[in-house]
């Protein structure tokens, strides 16, 4: 189970995510900065809900406060630099 891949774009497994949380990560961006979850092609659109669930179950003690999410960073989908210049 611990070697289940959670983030396919960057090939990040469940155990890397729980390790990041053990190290002190308390938010989706905190996990991302430690193990590259959501840094790849899909920008966390696929894995972020799962990462958040893992985070919530690991950080039981303060379940009242939802851990911060990674906010969307433009562009919404990958775009060629050449196309940006045509606009």
């Amino acid at each position: 189970m611990s070697d289940v891949i959670i983030c396919r774009c960057e090939g990040v497994c469940l155990n890397q995510i729980t390790e990041a949380i053990d190290q002190g990560a308390s938010s989706v961006p905190g996990i991302k900065k430690r193990v590259r979850v959501g840094m790849g092609y899909c920008q966390g659109r696929v894995c972020q809900p799962v990462v958040r669930q893992i985070l919530e179950s690991e950080l039981k003690e303060d379940s009242k406060t939802k851990p911060p999410l990674q906010r969307a960073q433009s562009p919404v989908r990958p775009v060629l630099l050449g196309d940006i210049l045509k606009e």
Binding site: E10, Q23, P29, K33, Q73, P78, L80, G82, L85, E87
Partner: protein, 391 residues
């Protein structure tokens, strides 16, 4: 009883300071309002370039810092993606060439082996470079690293040496006895110490306000574009002469003349993504990305590297660089108070200067001689009367 120090701020500078303090045997508490590398250190590029530094005390400091980096991976037992791949500053116009000739001369005097090379030689080193580049600087000793890895590695190494990390712990106030700071107030806890080091970058002045102390550090927003993963196309870090001009320009209050401060800074990460910057704007603590800035960065990037027109960006982000009026960081005691120190205001030099800043501050906070003259970085340099400029 051992000497107790609180380091406030878990970015590159704070994590580094905490590590060297722990190494010296101090009892260290590293606190951050959010997390390690959650601010500027998690929203920057990866260059450890000496040739981009202002000749003078900052460059001297950067030279010492660069030598620490050479063995830092072994010391911290971590992969920092450190790579001494060299660096260049590309030149598009005769005017830029003239300015860079002067800069190179001053750098050489300071002991940096940087030299000017022709456009052809630049394209041999960097084949993707445009034919419009007329010349470039080149220094094989410039390096790069992953600032996230450096921050986490310093924090983890400090923890292994006994430092305590308190994350998600905003400092809400100081514990004070007359003119001496004796600790900090966290949410539900008072932490006492012999010394407090503030390494909170752009957020440092906000906390110092509580002591009615003014520190002229201003957030300067920089935007960076991230591309999809590519095969190796970038050999070392590349800046443009325009980037250097913008970096050294002290234009706070005159932003209307150049609202975006666009200059090219490009490097490739180990994963293959390119980080393409950047901009320099005074926009308070606002961190939204701006599509117009993205377009302007794309323009300079494609002009220097035409092949980038066919490369996709997958995200953009901004970071707040701590700007100071003279472009030098603040390292040292807070004037008029005991037991409190500042290590902040590195603007774009935080990565390059993190190791040496941490070493210096660990010494200073313990009352030891840091081994270098830190007077040029003292906080009281801002208290001298400012000569009125121009208008």
């Amino acid at each position: 009883m051992s000497y107790k120090v609180i380091v406030v701020g878990g970015g590159l500078i704070g994590s580094s300071t905490a590590y060297y303090l722990a190494k010296f045997g101090a009892e260290v508490t590293l606190v951050d309002a959010k997390d390690i590398a959650s601010g500027t250190s998690g929203a920057c590029d990866r260059a450890i370039m000496l040739q981009s530094k202002k000749p003078g005390p900052t460059l001297d400091l950067a030279i010492q810092s660069a030598s620490v980096y050479e063995t830092l991976e072994e010391e911290l037992e971590a992969d920092l993606e450190y790579n001494k791949a060299g660096g260049m500053i590309v030149i598009e116009t005769e005017e830029e060439l003239k300015a860079m000739e002067e800069m190179v001369e001053r750098q050489q005097k300071a002991g940096i082996g940087v030299r000017l090379i022709s456009g052809e030689e630049a394209r041999e080193r960097q084949p993707a470079l445009s034919k419009n580049i007329i010349a470039s600087t080149w220094w094989d000793q410039d390096a790069e690293c992953n600032p996230l890895h450096v921050s986490f590695a310093y924090a983890n190494a400090a923890r292994r040496l006994g430092a305590e990390l308190k994350l998600r712990s905003p400092v809400t106030g100081f514990l004070r006895e007359k003119d001496r700071i004796v600790g900090v107030q966290l949410n539900n806890e008072k932490v006492y110490a012999d010394a407090v080091v503030l390494a909170m970058g752009v957020w440092t002045p906000l906390l110092l306000e509580q002591l009615d102390i003014e520190l002229p550090i201003t957030p300067r927003r920089g935007q960076i574009l991230v591309t999809e993963q590519l095969d190796k196309v970038m050999h070392g870090n590349v800046l443009s002469a325009a980037y250097i001009a913008n970096k050294l320009r002290r234009n706070q209050g005159k932003q209307a003349e150049d609202p975006y401060g666009i200059g090219l800074a490009i490097g490739q990460t180990h994963s293959g993504q390119l980080l393409i910057g950047g901009s320099r704007q005074f926009a308070g603590y606002e961190t939204d990305t701006d599509p117009e800035v993205t377009r302007k960065i794309a323009e300079v990037a494609v002009r220097a590297f035409p092949m980038l027109a066919n490369v996709r960006i997958i995200r953009t982000f901004t970071g707040l660089r701590p700007y100071t009026p003279d472009g030098m960081p603040v390292l040292g005691p807070v004037p008029g108070m005991e037991g409190i120190f500042v290590a902040a205001g590195h603007e774009g030099d935080g990565i390059a200067l993190a190791p040496i800043s941490g070493k210096v501050m660990a010494n200073v906070a313990c009352g030891e001689d840091p081994g270098i003259d830190i007077r040029p970085f003292s906080m009281d340099r801002f208290q001298e009367p400012v000569t009125p400029k121009g208008k």
